[in-house]
């Protein structure tokens, strides 16, 4: 049955309309969890607020388990699900640069728009910077084009690479996540701050 657009169940315009509705859900959940707050997001890296870890990993796991269940009941055809390709160097290089941006700017792209929607001026500044960054990438594209396409590995799944089933890998990731949640809860007590209220 799913994905609806691939199987021609909905039109292209309906798909875009549903994108808007899904976006509302995305933004509502992000804001309700305080992803509109740069100090909350940055708290992840100092241990005083590990909400990002808890929300992010819970979401990824619910997504992974959900896809497996939907596939089991034939509600979705996993072969039509887009798998992010791996270009080893640019995936890692891009990630490192984004990590630096995260700790300096306190947002990532999605959360910056979410924060701007409730009036955070620092988020608007981040968005401005983000457009400059994309512009620099675009204008200098010939300089890093080779790096951008280097070491292409196709679109492998981690489960295939490890020789495990999707289900087994998902179970392993769940166990790792439970361990990280425990560390997160510990860190929030250990690194609590007087000038920061966790669930304000």
């Amino acid at each position: 049955m799913g994905p609806l657009i691939v199987n021609g169940i909905i039109s292209e315009n309906t798909n875009l309309f549903l994108a808007f509705i899904i976006g509302i859900g995305f933004g509502f959940v992000l804001e309700s969890n305080g992803f509109s707050s740069s100090r909350r997001l940055a708290g992840m890296f100092y241990g005083y607020d590990t909400t990002v870890l808890k929300v992010f990993f819970t979401a990824a796991l619910v997504g992974a388990v959900g896809l497996l269940f939907m596939s089991l009941f034939h509600w979705i055809d996993l072969s039509y699900i887009y798998i992010n390709p791996t270009y080893l160097w640019s995936t890692l290089g891009g990630g490192v640069i984004m990590g630096a941006g995260f700790i300096l700017g306190g947002y990532c792209p999605g959360t910056s728009f979410c924060a701007a929607s409730i009036g955070k001026i620092d988020a608007l500044a981040f968005i401005g910077g983000m457009f400059i960054g994309i512009f620099i990438f675009a204008e200098g594209y010939p300089l890093w084009e080779n790096f951008y396409y280097a070491k292409f590995l196709g679109a492998p799944l981690l489960s295939d690479m490890l020789g495990a089933s999707r289900g087994l890998l998902t179970l392993l990731v769940i166990l790792v996540a439970l361990g990280m949640f425990w560390v997160g809860e510990w860190a929030e007590r250990r690194f609590a701050r007087d000038d920061y209220t966790l669930n304000q």
Binding site: G2, P3, G27, E31, S38, K54, V55, G66, T111, I136
Partner: protein
């Protein structure tokens, strides 16, 4: 109006995961954010300087595969995100113009570093073919190698640099 508390993060994660699953079910792709900014930039360049957009590989490649760069799934999703964030903020009493920062730094410092961080994130999201949403979160949910690598690189680097940036936050 008194601000409401934030949602329980594990409940929030489950809800975000459900939104992600609906995105897969509808479109076959997960969530994203930086792709919409790229669409907007390409559309802007194509309007302001169409000759330059036609000659430069980054813009022309994108325009060739996306003839109408603003009519994209992620653009509509991000418009929705802004609406959803605003509604949540309104319900919780969090709508307010402010610069959020550590009490130890000035507004000016915060803004300067927000811009610098944005430049890095914008550049990195293009190099890495997606940001925290599209590459790390969605990529991990589909169990792709690139999703786990992206997550490790983003969060690993931020942890590694946290000590040097500590004056900005704590």
């Amino acid at each position: 109006m008194k601000q409401k508390k934030y949602m329980n993060p594990y409940l929030g994660g489950v809800l975000l995961g459900l939104v992600l699953i609906v995105a897969f079910w509808v479109s076959g792709r997960g969530l994203g954010a930086s792709g919409a900014a790229k669409s907007a930039l390409v559309a802007g360049m194509n309007t302001v300087a169409p000759a330059h957009a036609g000659n430069s590989a980054f813009y022309s490649d994108y325009l060739e595969s996306h003839p109408n760069p603003l009519s994209q799934w992620l653009v509509f999703e991000m418009l929705g995100l802004v609406v959803g964030g605003f509604v949540s903020g309104a319900i919780a009493g969090r709508l307010k113009f402010k610069v959020e920062k550590s009490p130890k730094i000035t507004n000016k410092t915060r803004i300067i570093f927000a811009v610098i961080g944005g430049v890095f994130f914008g550049f990195g999201s293009q190099l890495g073919r997606g940001c925290t949403s599209g590459s790390a979160l969605t990529g991990m949910a589909v169990l792709s190698v690139s999703g786990f690598l992206s997550m490790a690189a983003i969060f690993g680097t931020a942890f590694a640099l946290a000590y040097f940036a500590r004056k900005l936050w704590i």
